[in-house]
Subunit: 177 residues, 2 copies
Amino acid sequence: MQDAVLAMLAKEPSHGYHLHARLRRSLGPLGESMNRGQIYVTLARLERAGLVVGERADGLPERPERKVYALTPAGQQRVAAWLAEVGWPKPDLAEFHLKLAAAAAARLADPVELVAAQRRELLRRLREAQHAALAEPAGWGAGLLLEGVVLRLQADLRWLDACERAWSKVDDEVEGG
Amino acid sequence: MQDAVLAMLAKEPSHGYHLHARLRRSLGPLGESMNRGQIYVTLARLERAGLVVGERADGLPERPERKVYALTPAGQQRVAAWLAEVGWPKPDLAEFHLKLAAAAAARLADPVELVAAQRRELLRRLREAQHAALAEPAGWGAGLLLEGVVLRLQADLRWLDACERAWSKVDDEVEGG
DNA sequence: TGGCCAATAGATAGCGGTTAGCCGTGGGAG
DNA sequence: CTCCCACGGCTAACCGCTATCTATTGGCCA
């Protein structure tokens, strides 16, 4: 979050609400779940850390005062460092994996059924993402982002196939033994 | 985290350290980054929420006391509800996307270079995951999990190709215009 | 027997993120 | 004129995670 805000400020100074809007625009449909309040919390922390300075700017005379934030040299340095990083979020498939194991171990549900339900959900999301992609410029901006979402969902669906193969074999053994 | 602990307890009651070990075993190489302390925090919260009861059990007479936790009826109910959910973690490609946009907008780095660096990193992780998969039973347990990681990394690499196409086109336009 | 060390077991502080909700202003609908 | 809603900003409370600290015990070695 901090990095995202700094990235926006690297382009141009903004106040909180504007930053929120810019982030949402930049992320397209995926940015809709963003919390507005978090922007202010983040900005306050960045200011306390000296990465950003906020200046009161009374644009229109009678509107609530807004604080326009801009990068400090330390902030610019941090943006540069962030760009140089090559991090990537670790895939979090563990939850579903544990779910299957727990369902089987505690005899609370049929793992193969869980896989089927999950596949229905992912197919739903896949259609949703493909539909949302139609409203965006293909191969650009938020459309590019949605392309990534689609590729991931397809990969996850293939993983579900592998899960089904694995767990249906277990069922056979249990029933057969 | 809470759900993962409850899932373990659904199979059999355990004390904190044992739970940690079971989770790590269940997740294989991917569980190595888990923090041991988090187990106790989670157990305390679950107990306060009435989903779990801890009973002092002095197994060996002179060992430090350990608390063996077990599900309450409310806890079992929550496990059942968790199994019925069909949630799936949302793909978090936004960070890299913002990085490319910030790099281009603030003229701080070449987006195509960033994509190349990221691809090198993902290829490294792909080899790592494939190597780790060799040490696990294929198509089962932690091996299945690693299979999912591999599929995801391959999808992400394909997305990087799309990113490169998009941003190299932008570079052409900038240089040409 | 005494001393050290690793493993076991648990607790705590603090950071970052999320959510819910409050406050004040202004503009428009009724 | 009143009421309601959108805007802009903020606070409080919670959750998850990590790092770090303590304490006990068993094993090893001298």
